[in-house]
């Protein structure tokens, strides 16, 4: 299995249920080289501290699973009623 697919499965099966339990939602947008781009949806999209807390926690976990060289980019995608 390609690394991209493995990362997607890890996010979908391990991380997503935890995030959903807090009203959040995450989706892998892309894996290009060592850079994983993650969409932050639901409550995650309006979390003010996702950069400092969630992202660092997830990156730590991804590195343990898939190697130290990974980088993580998080992109917020607000639902329509949070876009002003």
């Amino acid at each position: 299995m390609f690394v991209e697919e493995k990362i997607k499965q890890y996010i979908d099966h391990i991380i997503l249920p935890l995030v959903q339990a807090d009203g959040g939602e995450v989706k892998v947008k892309s894996v290009q080289g060592n850079e994983v781009t993650l969409l932050l949806l639901g409550e995650c999209s309006r979390c003010n501290i996702s950069e400092t807390c969630f992202k660092s926690w997830l990156l730590e976990k991804l590195k343990v699973q898939f190697g130290e060289e990974l980088t993580l980019k998080c992109v917020r995608e607000n639902p329509y009623f949070w876009d002003k």
């Binding site: 959903q20 339990a21 807090d22 939602e25 639901g42 979390c47 003010n48 639902p79």
Partner: protein
């Protein structure tokens, strides 16, 4: 010259007061010593009492470290001692957190910490020089919507920074002064308090604060100044008699606790324990404090998982401080559950309270539910409940102001209960503004001179705080405010409503003019809830019959199944207003219920010498409905094309997505069984009963003209030679609306949805796909941007019912699907099933009251009729419907994105049917019976030989057999039979049970025997009087 608005840059007197109040608050903590050497173990909760840990053991936790993970539960601990300098004083643990923590000190439950409270008393669990072990279980969620503490806002998130913890000593006098000042400061901010009063308070408070010298702090001097400040405030402000307020407000401590919402049910175990513990500790601190807590389920969970707290709580119940409120098992949605479900909410709730606390709760406490069905007053009254409390209509209605706060609510059958709709939100914190606002909003001042104000944080529990109680104790002294008193909820209801002849009467449903989407959102939950309601009904009936033959009645299995179903009827679960994992939990529960209950049906059937195998010559058809079934019967199961059923017309097909055999059959007895003999030879019949060509169909009942998209341009009902489709030619028209109701989009539908539509793309035009002796069916397929929709339409040879089965792969976002029918029927009223009767609603939009009801809840059928003819729509799992003039639109699917971004995405299978009828009253035209049949297919079993049985001979077709079961408290050879009158008739009814009945007693819904003389038992026949829409229960001794 243009006016230029000048922004004030210098400090106002109010700001100066505010600043000094903040300085004062900082002196409250007299001593503080950091607690070192904390340890943490992180994990997450996977079931009620099980956790999965991320680490093998504990690790050190230092100030500045992250703690918690998404959906995390963390365990913190420290071994320490009370600092020497704090000995012999009241010492608190202080920890600021946005998480929800429950604290144990030396093995004793000490209290709770959360966004609203940051300290727990240590010294009632520990002594000087004694080693102290502090253990904390914390559950973290990033959306604490019930907190207003700015200090913890910065800590919000699915991870948190540990900001340290300390032992502190509080100076009680400074604390009291701080409350004095803060409540007055809040009065200055209160919009509803008169300006002259605020001016007076401002002047005097300013002078009072001038007594404090903050610049040169000397502890002894400072304390003297504090005493002087308090004396000044008392004399000048609190004792002032000039500025009197109006009104009277009763303060009821309460914490609303959603069983699941932005958290799972398993997390509520901890939330509930924390909430109860906090209130118990407040009762120790404030002996006069009383708190009311609802939902038998929460007490059950406390008893099971936190027995020590439960024992304390029991003691406080005996003392009258902890009030058990709300007779129901949970606070369910009160639109969608059927009558028997609501009965069980009360039956199991009240029986638990009786068993554990020896009380029957006289109120139904539903502050947050999304409207209340008209069937409720009767059910409440017959379950020992006199009072009904619900807040939503007063503050959430988007169109009309509900005209009462205290009133008599009259139900569909004429039963009356006292109702209280408090004028403001059920979450408040006793600020002066909230108290004045509550009184000013009260609409029934002449009838009732006191209003109810619930206080305490809620939704996720938490409840009252020390600050709320301290404010409460000062409110009567604050100029310009209504008089307040702190009482129990039941005291308020009894004192203000009981026997109050000035109360006006509201006769009708309590429709909430908001949250109209909850009739449709998360369709799978609605579908399974309905199926399981029917399954449980059948299981109880069959197990009862089998038990009379010696079968062991599965009390525990059935009770556990009901309880699981009832939990999932909670008002944020069944309505679909929750996060994704709550749906996963509900579906798992539904699967367990289905397996357990079906298993019992199978065992009961086997006991009665039937079995689940269809490979027999004899097929036992079980009709659990109270009506003899003649005509079209769907038998679920695997059959072959050659199957022939004893000369009856039959045809393979599906119903509601299930495979089976359609049989045109005579006389399956009501509440009974009939055996038919299957043969493999198929009689050859020509399907000459219909004609289909060029989008035109003729059957014995209809001449139909279709569009290719399956909508009808004409439907001629042959028995009356009547055209049913109006000139608008909208009939079975699927419409996809853009559905953007805003932040609360799982909850709401806005009326403007009609303004924008998407087109369904036709990918397979209507074509004939199946024909036979019983029916002819057609299929059509559509596509949306991300969805596929297949519809099967079925016309029957011997029935006027037209079925529409839908299979949808639905992947839309913010789209809503409706099917619309514009009828050639002139009427201003629609009738809608509400499960134990029906309600009539206007279809015009003359007033704002009708305009607001643009989407309403119904159950199995709805109808538009003229005097001698009408058209009904039946459904197998859909509850939302709209009416406008001569049309109805059944709401089929939604796709909101909050709180669950994937809401309703996936496969859906559902059916609806159209049933034209002669006669203008659907209740007299067989519509009710057909709607029940549409939802309750005949159960089928194999057998070796013939079985023919009629367990209950019920003479009246307006009486529905709602439940047949054994009594909750087992009595030898006794059964409970519950009937409901469905057609609005009054009269004498009678039934005979298949076994000799030696005694019959009327019981209420709690199964208590009732004194009544309106029934007789002679020769095994029970005769009784009944009223329109009455629910009657009897206990029969066999």
């Amino acid at each position: 010259m243009a006016h230029v608005k000048v922004a004030r840059r210098s400090m106002s007197k109010e700001e100066w007061i505010s600043l000094r109040a903040a300085w004062l608050s900082r002196r409250v903590e007299e001593q503080s010593v950091q607690i070192e050497n904390w340890e943490i173990r992180e994990g997450h909760q996977v079931s009620e009492a099980r956790y999965e840990f991320y680490d093998e053991g504990y690790r050190a936790l230092n100030e500045g470290d992250y703690m918690f993970t998404p959906d995390g539960t963390s365990f913190l601990r420290v071994d320490t001692k009370i600092p020497q300098e704090m000995e012999n004083q009241q010492v608190y643990l202080k920890l600021e957190t946005a998480a929800e923590m429950i604290v144990k000190i030396n093995g004793k439950w000490a209290g709770g910490l959360d966004p609203n409270r940051d300290r727990v008393l240590v010294t009632h669990c520990a002594e000087n020089n004694q080693k102290i072990r502090i253990e904390i279980e914390g559950y973290n969620r990033s959306k604490p919507d019930d907190e207003r503490n700015i200090k913890t806002e910065r800590l919000r998130g699915c991870r948190q920074v540990f900001t340290g913890a300390s032992f502190i000593v509080v100076n009680k006098e400074i604390q009291a002064a701080s409350y004095d000042v803060n409540i007055l400061l809040e009065t200055l901010h209160a919009e509803s308090v008169q300006e002259d009063i605020k001016e007076f308070i401002k002047e005097e408070l300013d002078k009072a604060l001038n007594l404090i010298n903050e610049e040169e702090y000397d502890k002894a001097l400072y304390l003297e100044e504090i005493l002087e400040l308090r004396r000044y405030i008392k004399e000048k402000i609190f004792d002032n008699k000039t500025y009197k307020g109006n009104g009277k407000v009763a303060l009821i401590a309460h914490s609303h606790l959603d069983i699941a919402y932005y958290w799972r049910r398993i997390n509520t175990i901890h939330k509930n324990a924390r909430t109860c513990l906090i209130q118990l500790r407040l009762m120790e601190q404030y002996p006069e404090f009383k708190y009311c807590h609802t939902q038998a389920f929460t007490y059950e969970m406390l008893e099971k998982y936190y027995p020590e707290i439960f024992e304390e709580l029991k003691e406080k119940i005996k003392q009258g401080k902890f009030e058990v409120a709300g007779g129901m098992y949970v606070e369910p949605d009160c639109n969608i559950p059927a009558a028997e479900s609501l009965v069980r909410q009360l039956l199991y709730g009240q029986h638990y309270y009786r068993e554990k606390f020896g009380i029957t709760v006289e109120n139904c406490w539903l502050p947050d539910v999304f409207g209340n069905s008209w069937i409720l007053p009767q059910i409440l009254k017959k379950a020992g409940v006199k009072y009904f409390v619900s807040n939503k209509m007063s503050t959430w209605n988007d169109t009309n102001r509900f005209p009462h706060n205290h009133f008599i609510w009259k139900g569909i059958d004429g039963s009356e209960v006292y109702a209280c709709v408090p004028p403001t939100h059920f979450i408040s914190w006793n600020t002066p503004q909230q108290i004045v606002e509550n009184w000013e909003s009260l609409q029934d001042k002449n009838a009732c001179g006191e209003t109810m104000n619930m206080f305490g944080y809620g939704d996720g529990g938490s409840g009252a705080t020390e600050e709320m109680i301290e404010y409460m104790n000062r409110l009567n002294d604050v100029p310009g405010l209504p008089a307040v008193r702190h009482i129990r909820g039941d005291e308020f209801l009894k004192q203000n409503l009981e026997g109050n002849d000035k109360l006006e009467c509201w006769d009708g449903e309590l429709y909430l003019e908001m949250h109209r989407g909850t009739f449709t959102t998360k369709g799978i939950l609605k579908k399974l809830n309905r199926q399981l309601e029917f399954l449980l009904r059948d299981a109880e009936l069959l197990c009862t019959v089998a038990s009379l033959e010696g079968f062991k009645y599965p009390y525990e299995v059935i009770k556990a199944a009901w309880k699981k179903l009832m939990i999932n009827q909670f008002h944020d679960i069944l309505p679909g207003t929750h996060i994704a994992p709550v749906t996963v939990d509900a579906l798992a529960d539904y699967k367990q219920i289905e397996e357990a209950v079906s298993g019992q049906i199978k065992k009961a059937a086997e006991y009665l010498s039937w079995n689940g195998s269809m490979n027999r010559d004899h097929l036992v058809l079980v009709n659990t409905l109270g009506w003899q079934q003649t005509g079209l019967v769907f038998v679920k199961g695997e059959f072959t094309k050659e199957t022939q059923a004893q000369g009856c017309l039959c045809q393979l097909g599906t119903h509601s997505g299930e495979k089976g055999l359609w049989i045109d059959i005579d006389n399956i007895p009501a509440v009974g069984v009939k055996t038919i003999v299957l043969s493999k030879k198929r009689s050859i019949r020509e399907a000459v009963w219909f004609d289909w060509q060029q989008m035109k169909l003729e059957t014995p009942y209809y001449k139909v003209c279709f569009n290719q998209d399956s909508s009808f341009t004409s439907l001629l009902y042959k028995p009356d030679n009547r055209e049913i489709v109006s000139q608008a030619q909208v009939f079975n028209k699927l419409k996809i609306y853009k559905d953007y109701p805003g932040m609360y989009d799982a909850w709401d539908i806005l009326e403007n949805y009609k303004q924008r539509q998407d087109d369904l793309v036709l990918i397979k035009p209507l074509s004939l796909v199946s024909q036979g002796d019983v029916f002819v069916s057609f299929e059509v397929e559509f596509q949306l941007e991300r969805s596929k929709w297949k519809q099967t339409i079925r016309f029957y040879r011997n029935s006027p019912r037209i079925d529409f089965e839908n299979k949808v792969d639905w992947n839309e976002t913010n789209r809503m699907a409706k099917v619309e029918f514009d009828l050639n029927v002139l009427t201003r009223q629609a009738k809608c099933d509400i499960s134990a009767g029906h309600i009539t609603r206007e279809t015009h939009k003359n007033t704002t009251w009708q305009q607001a009801r643009f989407e309403v809840c119904h159950h199995k059928w709805a109808d538009l009729s003229e005097t001698d003819f009408g058209v009904s729509i039946l459904n197998d799992c859909k509850y939302g419907i709209s009416f406008e003039k001569n049309s109805f639109g059944l709401t089929l699917l939604r796709s909101p994105v909050r709180p669950d971004i994937n809401c309703d995405k996936g496969e859906h299978a559902f059916s609806y049917a159209i049933l034209p009828h002669m006669g203008g009253l659907p209740e007299q035209a067989g519509v009710i019976e057909e709607a029940w049949k549409f939802n309750a297919p005949i159960r089928v079993f194999g057998a070796e030989d013939q079985h023919q049985m009629n367990w209950m001979e019920l003479q009246q077709d307006n009486l529905h057999v709602q439940a047949v079961k054994l009594p909750e408290i087992a009595e030898h050879n006794c059964i409970i039979v519950r009937l409901s009158e469905l057609k609005g008739k009054r009269g004498k009814g009678s039934f005979k049970f298949y076994k000799a009945v030696t005694k019959a007693v009327k019981v209420n819904l709690l199964e208590d025997e009732q004194p009544a003389s309106d029934y007789t038992l002679e020769n095994g026949v029970l005769e009784f009087e009944y009223k329109p829409f009455e629910i009657l229960s009897f206990k029969l001794t066999i």
